[in-house]
Symmetry: C5
Subunit: 380 residues, 5 copies
Amino acid sequence: MARKLSRLPKLITRPYEDEFYHQPGAVPGTIFIDADAPPPIIFLIDYNQTNFIREQIATPEECIPYLDGESISWVDVQGLGSQEILQRLGQVFELHPLVLEDIVNVPERPKTEDYEDQLLFIARMVVPKERICGFHSEQVSLILGKNYLLTVQEEPENDCFETVRSRIEKSKGIIRKQGADYLAYAVLDAIIDGFFPVLELYGERIEELEEEVIVKPTPQTLQNIYQIRRELLQLRRAIWPQRDAINSLIRDAPDLISEEVRIYLRDCYDHTVQVMDMVETYRELASGLMDVYLSAVSNKMNEIMKVLTIVSTIFIPLTFIAGIYGMNFNTEKSPYNMPELNSYWGYPLCWAVMLAIAVGLLFFFWRRGWLQNSVVIKQN
Amino acid sequence: MARKLSRLPKLITRPYEDEFYHQPGAVPGTIFIDADAPPPIIFLIDYNQTNFIREQIATPEECIPYLDGESISWVDVQGLGSQEILQRLGQVFELHPLVLEDIVNVPERPKTEDYEDQLLFIARMVVPKERICGFHSEQVSLILGKNYLLTVQEEPENDCFETVRSRIEKSKGIIRKQGADYLAYAVLDAIIDGFFPVLELYGERIEELEEEVIVKPTPQTLQNIYQIRRELLQLRRAIWPQRDAINSLIRDAPDLISEEVRIYLRDCYDHTVQVMDMVETYRELASGLMDVYLSAVSNKMNEIMKVLTIVSTIFIPLTFIAGIYGMNFNTEKSPYNMPELNSYWGYPLCWAVMLAIAVGLLFFFWRRGWLQNSVVIKQN
Amino acid sequence: MARKLSRLPKLITRPYEDEFYHQPGAVPGTIFIDADAPPPIIFLIDYNQTNFIREQIATPEECIPYLDGESISWVDVQGLGSQEILQRLGQVFELHPLVLEDIVNVPERPKTEDYEDQLLFIARMVVPKERICGFHSEQVSLILGKNYLLTVQEEPENDCFETVRSRIEKSKGIIRKQGADYLAYAVLDAIIDGFFPVLELYGERIEELEEEVIVKPTPQTLQNIYQIRRELLQLRRAIWPQRDAINSLIRDAPDLISEEVRIYLRDCYDHTVQVMDMVETYRELASGLMDVYLSAVSNKMNEIMKVLTIVSTIFIPLTFIAGIYGMNFNTEKSPYNMPELNSYWGYPLCWAVMLAIAVGLLFFFWRRGWLQNSVVIKQN
Amino acid sequence: MARKLSRLPKLITRPYEDEFYHQPGAVPGTIFIDADAPPPIIFLIDYNQTNFIREQIATPEECIPYLDGESISWVDVQGLGSQEILQRLGQVFELHPLVLEDIVNVPERPKTEDYEDQLLFIARMVVPKERICGFHSEQVSLILGKNYLLTVQEEPENDCFETVRSRIEKSKGIIRKQGADYLAYAVLDAIIDGFFPVLELYGERIEELEEEVIVKPTPQTLQNIYQIRRELLQLRRAIWPQRDAINSLIRDAPDLISEEVRIYLRDCYDHTVQVMDMVETYRELASGLMDVYLSAVSNKMNEIMKVLTIVSTIFIPLTFIAGIYGMNFNTEKSPYNMPELNSYWGYPLCWAVMLAIAVGLLFFFWRRGWLQNSVVIKQN
Amino acid sequence: MARKLSRLPKLITRPYEDEFYHQPGAVPGTIFIDADAPPPIIFLIDYNQTNFIREQIATPEECIPYLDGESISWVDVQGLGSQEILQRLGQVFELHPLVLEDIVNVPERPKTEDYEDQLLFIARMVVPKERICGFHSEQVSLILGKNYLLTVQEEPENDCFETVRSRIEKSKGIIRKQGADYLAYAVLDAIIDGFFPVLELYGERIEELEEEVIVKPTPQTLQNIYQIRRELLQLRRAIWPQRDAINSLIRDAPDLISEEVRIYLRDCYDHTVQVMDMVETYRELASGLMDVYLSAVSNKMNEIMKVLTIVSTIFIPLTFIAGIYGMNFNTEKSPYNMPELNSYWGYPLCWAVMLAIAVGLLFFFWRRGWLQNSVVIKQN
C-alpha cells in the first residue's frame, strides 16, 4: 500500500520530437521556433597570438567587423528562441537555407556537410544530470569558416566549453597559435570527452544493479534495468552518427581543415570509438542483466514452492490420519468398526506412525537437497 | 465473460498482397487491375515563373499540349481502377512496359530506375489514421521527365502533397524558379516527412505501454506490444528501401537531376536516415518491453504463490493439531489414550501451541521479506 | 486420450539430403542416380517468329537437328532417373562434366556459372501444396546456349512453366521475337513469381496463429509456430542464393545475355528481393509469436494459480476453525475446556466469524484485482 | 535413483587446446611435440600417366629421389609424434620455419599461404564417429610444390583419402593426366565432402529431438539440445575459415594452380558454401528447439497445476462442510447449536449440497476448457 | 543462514575508468598521473650480433648514447607514476604530444599510428590471475624507431616478455640478427600468445559450469555464468581492436617494418584471429548456458510441483472422506442420518474405498509418467 513503484521518467529526449512541428511538404529551409525555446544569447571571443577579446554581444550584426579581420573569431549562440535573430544570423554568416534549417529545427542527426567555404558539423552534447540518473542532451551546431567558428547551442545552461574558453584566454597549449580549424577541433573534442562522465555514471549504476539483481530482485530492479537499456539506446544514437561524421572529416579532407589538425581529429575519432565501445559493452551487460533477473525471479519462485510443498506434503498425510480417528463409526455395533480406538496403545501408536511419516518425508526432501538450498537462500 | 480481448486487426498492409494476382509466368509488363481499386482521377498543375494552371482533366491525352511546352507540368493520377486509362497514360508518357507494370501492380518495393529520358521512383507514403493506432500506407510512383513529373497514387484520399501544391500556387520558396527535378524532390521530401507524425504516435504508444507493462500487465498489454512490433516491422520495410533508392539518386547522378537539386536530396536522405533510426529505436524498445512483460508476469505469479504459501503454511499445521484432538480414542480404555482431553488446562494449552506455531511461521516469512514485498505490490 | 498432438512432418527437403550419396573423394563429375527418381521425359519446343513446334521426344539425340538450326529450341527434361539418358544428354549438349554433376546430383545450391559458350543457372522452384501447409520444392537447372535453352527438372509434376509455354505458342508479348536469353529470363521469372503464392499461404497461416496464440494457446500452437519457422528457414535458403545468382548475371554481363534482356533481369531481381523481404518479415513475425506464446502460457498459469489461491486461502482457515470445534476436550473436566461448545450462541457465532473471514479475504483479493481479471480471461 | 543424467562429453576438440603449450614469447618456428601424439608414418605415392608406385617409407630422406623426378609425388605423413622426423621433413621439403610451426603445433586455424614456390593450405577434416554422436576432427596440412604434394595429418586413423588413392591407382577420371595441383584439389575436395556425412547425422538427431521436445521433454532433452548446439558451433568454426582459404586460392590465382584446376576449385568452393549453409540452418533449428523446450516445460507445468487446482478446489470446500458438521457444539444447550444434526433429512441434504458444489465447480472448469485440455495432454 | 552468495567482484577493469579524470576540453597532450600509479622503472637492453647489454637505468636521459649508436636498443618503462620522468622520456624520444598522452592516460583503445619516423602501437596485455578466476589486464605501448624500441607498461609486475629478453640474451633464433622491427614483432607476439593461457582457464570454467548447470543448478551458478559472460566481454574488447591494428600494420606497410618482418606479423595476425575466434565461441557457449539454466530451473520447479500435486491430490479426497464420517449427525433421530456408522462393515468398507481412490490416482499419475520422472531427477 505504502511504497509505490516509481514512475518511469518520460523518454528523456524523445528522439527528435521537435521535428514533428515540421509540416510535411513545407519549404526546405523553413525554420520553426519552439515556443519554449530560450531566447538566443550571443557570446563573442576574438583572438590572435597577441590579443584576446571576450564579450557578450546584443545583435548578430556586431560580429561583422571581427569576421572581416585576420584574427580568429568564435561566435557562440546559446538558445533558439527567436526567429528574427536566427535569420539575421544566417544573413551575417551567409548560411545556406538548409544549413539554417539544420541548426534551428533541432534535433537533427549528427552529420557533417561541406559547403565549399563553410563546413557544417551537427553534434550532440551530453552532460550528466546532477545527482539524478539520466543525462541532459543538447544539439550543438558548428559552422567553420576561414577564420571564424560559429557554434549554436539549444540552451544557455549545461555547456562543457568553459575549459576551451579558458585555454584560449590563458593561452594554454597551442590553441592561440592555430587557426579556426583547431578551435573547431577543440570544441568537438570537448563534446566527445563529455560523454565519459556520463558513461561513468552508467558503469556505477550497472554495478549496483548487478548486486541487486542477484541478491534481492524486486519489480523496481526490473524497471531500473529497462530504464538503463533505454537510456543507453539514446546514448548510442547520439554517438554513432558522430563517429561517421568525424571520420568523414578525416577521410574527405575538406580544404578548411589543415593537415596538422587532421592528426588531432584522428585522436578525437579514437575517443569517439572508445565511447561507442563502452556504450555497446554496457548495453550487452544490461541485456544480460535482464536474463539474470528472469532467472532470479524463477529461483525465488522455486524457493517459495519448496516451502509450500514441504509443509503441505508433511502435514496433509498426518491430517488425514487424524481425520481417520476422528470418524464416528460405532465401535459397539461391530468388532471391525475402529477397534484401534479402544486399544490400550492406540493413541501412542498413532503418534508413532505420524512421526515416522514426517521423518520419512523430511529424509526424502533432504535427499533431494531441498531442505539445504532452502536455507542457503534465506538471506535473499 | 463480459470484456473480451480485442481482436488483432488484420495485417494492415499484408506485404505486397496484391502481387499475388500476378500469375507466375505472365508476360512482363502485364498489368492487373484490382476490382476494388478506385477509378483514376487525373489532376494537372502546369507552371513557370509567371503562370500557374491547376485543373482536373478527364483523359490522359489532355496532358499532351502541356508536356510539349517549356513550362513544368505535374500530372497527378489518383487511383488504379481502370486498365484502359492506365494504358493510355503509358502511351502518352511513352512508358516502358516494365515501368507501367511497376506503377500499376502495387505493391512494388521502393526503388529507383533510370531509363535515360525518364527516371522512375517508386515510393511508399504513410499517413497516420485519425484517432486509431496504425497507419494508412500507399504506393506513390514518380516518373520524372525533362519538364514534367508524373505521380501515380493508389487512392485519391490520404495524400500529403497539399502543401507542395500550395507552395507552387503561392510561389513560396524557390519552387517556381526551379525545374521538374526540384518538384520531384519536393514531393519526395513531403513523403519522407510524412513518416514523422506516424512515428510520433508510436513514441506515445510505447510510453503508455511502458507504464502499463510494469504497473498493470494484462493479456491485452501483451497483444498491444506484439501489435506495435508488427507495425514497426511494416514501417521498417517501407523506409529501408527508400533510403537506398534516394542514395542511389545522389550517388549515380542521373542527368535529369541537377547538381543543385542533389544538395536538397542529400537533406532528404538525412531525414530518411532519421526515420530509419527512430524506427529501429522503437523496435528495440518494443522488443525490450516483451522481456519486461514476461518478467512482470513472473513477478505477479510470485506474489500469488507467496499468498498461497503463507496462508497454507500457517493453517495446515494448525488444522493438523485440531485434527489430533478431534480423534475419538477411548480415554477410558487406557491412561495413554489422549489424556490431554481430560486435563484441566488442555484446551488453553492447545491454543497456546497453535498461536506459537503461527507466530513462529510469520516470523520466518518476515525474515525472508515475504510479508513486506507482498504489501509493496498491492497496488499493482 | 482421444486427440493426439499431430506429428511434425519430416523436414520436407532435408537440406541437400541426396548429396550424401556422394562418396567423399569421388571423381568430380561422377553422377549419382537416386533409385526413387522418376525416369526422364523430354519435351521440345522449337520456334521462331513464324513457326512453332511442340513435341515430346524419346531420346536426347532427336534434339540435334533443332539445335543446329537458327530457330530457338527449348529442351525441357523432367526427371533424373536414368544415368544413360542423362549422359547422352550431356554429350548432345557438350556439357562440362561438372555441369552435368551439378544438374544431376541434386540438390545443388542455386548459383550461376559462365562456361563461355554456355551459361549454367541452378534455380530452386517452389509450388504450394494443395490444401496442406508446406510446399513442394524442386531444383531446376537452366543451360543457356546461343540459340537453345536446356532446362532440367527433378520431377515431371509441379511445374510452373505452363504459362510460358502458352505465351510462346500463342505468341503473347515479345517472346517470339526474342532470343534464347529472353526465354531463359521468362523461365527464371516464372520460378521467382512462383514464390509469391507460397508466401501468401504463410501470411495467412501466421494471421491464424496470431489469433490462436493470444486467444487459445495450446501445445499444438507451439508446434505450428515451430513448423512455420522451420519452413520459412527453408524458403530463405532457397531464395537467398538465387538473388546472388541473378545479381551476378546482371553485373557480370555474360555475352550470352543481351543488353535488353538485362533490363528484364533487373525487374526479376527486384522480385527476388521482394520475396526475400517477405520471408524475413514472416520470420520475424513467427519469432515474435514464440515470445507471445511463452507469455500467454505464463498468463494462463497465473490464472490457474489465482483460482487455486483464492479457493485455498478462503477455505483453509475456515476448515481450521471447524477443526477447532471438532476437538474432543472434555468440557466437564474443566471450565476452560471449550466452553464455547456449551454456550447458547456458540454455533451461530462460529458461523459469523467464518463468514467474516471469508468476506475479508474476498475483499483482499478484490483489492488486488484478482477476482476481476479472473473473469476477463474466462473466455480464453 | 536408478537412471542418472548422462554426463556431457568433454568439449571434444577443446578449441586449439594444444596451442597452450606454446610458451608466450617463444622463438617463432619452435615446434612442440605433444607427448600423446602418435609417431609419424610416411606413405609415398608417385605416379605419372604410365607408372604408379605406392609404398610406406621409413625416413623423410627417402622421398628425395622422387621429388627430383618429373612424376607427381604425394607424400602423406600421419602422426606428429617425433620432433626429429618432422624437422628432417622440413629440411627435405625446404619448409619455412613458420610453415613447419603451423603444421606441427596443431590446432591451427584453416588458412592458405603462398610462399612463391610452395603453397600452404591448413585444413580441418571431420569424420563421423561410429554409432556415437559427435565427430572426430583432425588437422590436415597440405604443402603443394611444383610436382609434389605433402600432406601432414595428426593421426593415422580416420582418414577420408582412400578413394583418392584408389582413383590414382586405378587411374579413374583424369587424375593421372593432371599435375600436383589437381591432386591437391582432389584431397581438398575429399575433406570438404567429408563434412556431409557428419551433417547428415546432425540432421537426423535434430529430427529426433524435434519429436522428443514436443511429445516428451525431459531434462535429458535439454542436455541433448545444448550438446548439439555446442558441436555445431565447432563444425562452424572448422568450415568458416576453410571457405575463406579456398576463396583466396581462387581469387589470388597463385602460380602453382593452373587455370583448369581453378574451375574445379570453384566447384569445391560451392560445396564449402553448402556445408556452411547447412551448419547455419541446423544451428537455427537447434536454437529454435531451445525455445520450444522452454515452452513445452511451461505447458507441462500448466497441466500439473491444473490437476492440482481442480482436485484442491473441489475437495477443499467439501472438506470444510464435513468439518462443520464434525463440530461438537452441544445441541442440548441451545436450539441454535447445530440443529441440523438432529434433523431428519440432515445427512442426505448435506450430501446434496456437497454434490451441488462439486458439480458446479466441474462445470466452471469445463467452461474454461481445463478439463478438456487436461485430457489432450494425457499422452505426453 | 550460513552460506551467502559470494559477491560479484567489481568490474575488473572498468572500461577505461581512468579516462574519466580527463577533464572535457583539456589541452590535447595533457597527461594525467593517477595517484595510485607505481613510479616508473626503466630497463635498457642494447644489443647487436656480438654485444649485449642489459641494465636498469635511473633517468631517461641515460638512454641517449645508446639511441645514437647502430645497435638495437630496447627501453622498457614500467610504471606511470611520475609526470616529470614521463615528460623527460617524451623529450628524449621526441614523442608527439598526442603520443605521450596515449601512452600515459591509460586505458587507451589498442591501435596503431604512423608518425613517419616513429610507429606507435597501443596494445593490451592479459595475464591469468594465479588460482583465482579473472585476469590481470594492462596497457603496453610500443614506440618503434629506426634502431630502438620503447615499451611502456602500466605496472612492473605481470609481464610476459621475459622469454623475449632471454631469447635476446642467449641469442636464440634470429632475433640478434634482425632489426628493431623484429624486436617489436617479438614483443607483440608475446602479448598475443599471452591470451591463450587466459582463454584456457575460461574453457575449463565453462566445462565445469556445463556440468553444474544441468546436474545441480543453484543461484551461485547463475552468478558464475553472468560473471564469465562479463569477463569474456572484456577480453573481446581487448582483442578486437588489436586485430585491426596488426592488420593495418601488414596492409599499410609502414617504412619502419621490413618485408621479412611483415611475414612474421602475418603469423601473429593469424594468432589474433584465433584468439578472437575462441572468445566468440566461449561467449556463445556461455550465452547458451544461460538458456539451459533457465530451463533447468523450470524443470526443477516442475518436479517440485509434481510432488506437491501427487501428495495433495491423493490425500485431499481421502481426508474429505474421513471428514464425512467425522460428522456428528444424530443417527438416532433418523434412519437416513449416517447409517454407515452403525453398519457392521462400515469401517473396513470405508478403508476399501479410500484405498481404491489412492490406487486409482496413483495409476493416473503413472500413466502420465509423473511417478517415473520424479525418480529420475532424484539425484539432482
